[in-house]
């Protein structure tokens, strides 16, 4: 019986690489989305809501719910479940609407 999803499909991925989440190193597999890489590291939340400051992460997994918005390499409001992870990507928790530095 498979113990992991990679066992189940017999995955033989290209070599893993590192990205960071709020400065912490996270290992990603080539072909994974940013959200998948974070889930793989046990991280389920990378956004806080605009009004309540509540933590959120991937919910629908297909780009429809926008709960997984993250700041990727300084750019806010990227849908982490769609954006592929690349070596050295810096993912940071997105606070609110992600445009605080604009003062709006």
């Amino acid at each position: 019986m498979a113990r992991t999803p990679t066992d189940l499909v017999g995955a033989q991925p290209d070599p893993p690489f590192e990205i960071t989440f709020d400065g912490r190193s996270v290992t990603a597999l080539p072909g994974q989305s940013v959200a998948a890489a974070l889930w793989g590291a046990g991280i389920l939340a990378w956004r806080t809501t605009r009004d309540g400051g509540r933590p959120r992460g991937a919910f629908c997994g297909i780009g429809q719910c926008y709960d997984c918005l993250a700041t990727v390499n300084g750019e806010p409001n990227r849908r982490a479940c769609l954006v592929p992870a690349h070596p050295g990507d810096a993912i940071t928790t997105q606070e609110g609407h992600g445009h605080d530095r604009l003062g709006v």
Partner: protein, 493 residues
């Protein structure tokens, strides 16, 4: 920055939006019968949500381990590869427009999440809409906590990213998809203590004719059932997760028995420890590209809206066909059946000849048989009128705008709202990023007079977010040279 617009190449006979089962089947048959075809899809790979699979770099030797009927997809994918179809990946279609000369323009933004600064417009003589569906959600206390994920969402992340949201995952909601989700999560190494289904399965037995005509559906259920037995997954019928526990993430859920109207039965709550909850209440047809054009819809037995289609899959707008979940959720086999039917109908229209009358009649019989089963399924799993009883006033209904049940109830009880649109105007429910896709059903139910909810209209002016620079660029002349050409700024007139 000026977002210049590119056009892949001239005027296609047919542009297909969506590369899942329906879109692939439609595109492939139309191309094989002689049409020039572009297949436009948001993903980098064909297959849609049902045949979603890992990127090549993940090196999956057995991608079919997470799929049912993989050979149907691999056949369509092979025919796509052998065809002259322009497969435009990473294209998010935000609008369709019918021009004065009866041709169509498909407007898309590009990139993994549609944020690449290169809008595209594709011109077509006819269109086939095969945009599929997204998951329907009903709120409950704690459903915004990290670790609560869509049931189809958990499966999508598993199929494409080979990851799980936790080790011990409760699967809940309503619909046969839950069995498939639980079976895949368990096969991939998760412990699934229980599947919690709000409906009973007795409703199916009331329509034996549709069951007998679709034995493959019963066989599918048996396959999932056997997998669940093997993984010791318990299925609880007529029950729902009525509360999630945890501070920063899921630690446990409360599962409560429901009466036949989906009202929680007092005193029956049981706490089940878990670190994730995968939840969903079936699927909602994704039809906003068509409704924006005024296409007629039809109410489905599960209180969603599908497109109203004629016998050959054409919508009420001439020249626009639709197939698969856009006409009502019925699964991959129905989707490719309808996709092929639509493709053949387009060929007949454009070339003025029927491709194969026998084949078309066969596809129509197959479609009608499976549509009948889809209606039974939708009816069996429609949300019961009692589900709002499990809400508390501080439960968020709209996840994006953080609008609570209390706010929605105030809009209904004190301010007279009677439909989702009025609630939206009064509370902002459905006004956020997802444009009501996650909360639309719930808001419509909460706003319903006498408990009979009208489906939300599913009308959105833009199917995906579009930047102002993209809209501004619509007045620019289209840049020739195809999507691969480097963007260059075009001076305004």
């Amino acid at each position: 920055m000026t977002a210049s617009v590119s056009e892949p190449s001239g005027l296609y006979d047919l542009v297909v939006v969506g590369a899942g089962s329906a879109g692939l089947a439609g595109a492939v048959i139309a191309s094989e019968l002689g049409l020039s075809v572009a297949l436009v899809d948001a993903s980098t790979q064909s297959g849609g949500q049902f045949y979603r699979h890992p990127a090549p770099a993940l090196g999956a030797v057995r991608p079919e381990a997470l799929h049912h009927d993989w050979s149907t997809f691999s056949n369509l994918r092979r025919r796509l590869g052998a065809s002259g179809i322009a497969h435009l990946t990473g294209h998010h279609v935000w609008s369709l427009a019918k021009e004065a000369d009866e041709t169509w323009t498909v407007h898309a933004v590009t990139g993994a999440d549609g944020t690449a600064k290169r809008p595209v417009r594709i011109r077509a003589r006819t269109l086939l809409l095969a945009t599929g569906a997204y998951e329907r959600q009903l709120p409950f206390p704690g459903w915004t906590l990290p670790g609560v994920v869509g049931a189809a969402g958990a499966q999508a992340m598993l199929k494409s990213g080979l990851v799980l949201p936790g080790r011990r995952i409760v699967v809940a909601g309503s619909g046969p998809l839950l069995l498939a989700v639980a079976a895949s999560l368990a096969a991939a190494g998760a412990r699934v203590p229980t599947v919690v289904e709000a409906a009973g399965y007795l409703r199916y037995a009331r329509t034996p004719r549709a069951l007998v005509a679709n034995p493959q559906k019963a066989a599918e259920a048996l396959v999932h059932g056997a997998a669940l037995l093997r993984h010791r997954v318990r299925v609880r019928l007529r029950s729902a997760v009525t509360e999630v526990h945890g501070t920063d993430r899921v630690e446990a859920v409360t599962v409560t028995r429901l009466d036949r109207d989906w009202r929680p039965v007092p005193g029956t709550g049981r706490r089940i420890a878990c670190d994730a909850l995968a939840v969903g209440h079936g699927l909602v047809p994704q039809i906003e590209l068509a409704t924006a054009l005024g296409c007629a819809t039809r109410p489905l037995p599960d209180c969603t809206l599908g497109l109203a289609l004629d016998g050959l899959q054409e919508t009420s707008v001439r020249g626009l066909w639709a197939a698969g979940e856009t006409g009502g959720v019925g699964g991959a086999e129905l989707a490719w059946t309808e996709g092929e039917l639509a493709g053949r109908a387009v060929v007949a229209r454009l070339l003025g000849r029927r491709s194969d009358a026998g084949r078309i009649a066969g596809l129509q019989r197959r479609r009608d048989r499976m549509r009948a089963f889809a209606d039974v399924m939708a009816s069996a799993h429609a949300p019961g009128p009692g589900w709002p009883v499990w809400l508390t006033d501080d439960t968020d209904v709209c996840r994006c705008e953080e609008v609570t049940v209390g706010c929605v109830r105030e809009a209904v009880a004190d301010l007279g709202a009677r439909d989702a649109r009025t609630v939206k105007l009064l509370t902002r429910a459905g006004m956020g990023w997802c444009q009501g896709r996650m909360c639309g059903t719930a808001v419509a139910c909460l706003a319903a007079r006498d408990g009979v909810a009208e489906p939300p209209s599913e009308r959105r002016p833009f199917a995906v977010p579009v930047s102002l620079s993209t809209l501004a660029a619509l007045d620019e002349p289209a840049e020739p040279g195809g999507v691969e050409a480097e963007a260059s700024s075009i001076e305004g007139p």
